[in-house]
Symmetry: C2
Subunit: 99 residues, 2 copies
């Protein structure tokens, strides 16, 4: 039987990244400021985790203008949705193994 720990995704092994994915998986798109408010983290902290998720193509960024002001929105990608599901299943298997 494969070791469930091996299926954990290194990129998602951080609470803030898990929370970002969990917000984006149930919402069509979220702005930086709304994410920051929900997660209660600093700009720098959120930006670094968003960059890591972007680099892995788990989330995508769309830039637009709203009332002539720049607006940045983050969305989960299909790749991100699958990775998040796989990581949750692995976490579930790790927990089951310990119980």
């Amino acid at each position: 039987m494969k070791n469930p720990f091996d299926n954990l995704d290194k990129v998602l092994e951080h609470r803030v990244r898990l929370q970002i994915m969990s917000v984006l998986v149930t919402n069509d798109g979220y702005e930086f400021s709304s994410l920051k408010e929900i997660l209660g983290v600093t700009d720098g902290n959120l930006a670094s985790h968003i960059k890591a998720l972007e680099r892995e193509k788990y989330i995508s960024v769309s830039k637009s203008f709203v009332d002539r002001k720049p607006n940045t929105k983050y969305k989960i990608t299909e790749r991100g949705r699958n990775a998040f599901k796989k990581h949750l299943d692995a976490l579930e298997a790790v927990v089951k193994q310990q119980k």
Copy 2:
């Protein structure tokens, strides 16, 4: 309802540390070399995670001589056992929240 993410333990938010705890919670004491073999990590990597768990008093170290050779064994502490259980419960709640 409290956000299940808040109950995640920052110290245990790393796969290798979870694996160390999961080995020690079911075994009375483990040597460094055996842990390294089971986890398949480098000396330096394992040592840094063990230090973090020690600093948090989640594991304790006992040093002795076996056949006149120094022997270091790691054991889980009561505090570590409780923290590990709490973290697993929080992981379970996070997974349930997403399903």
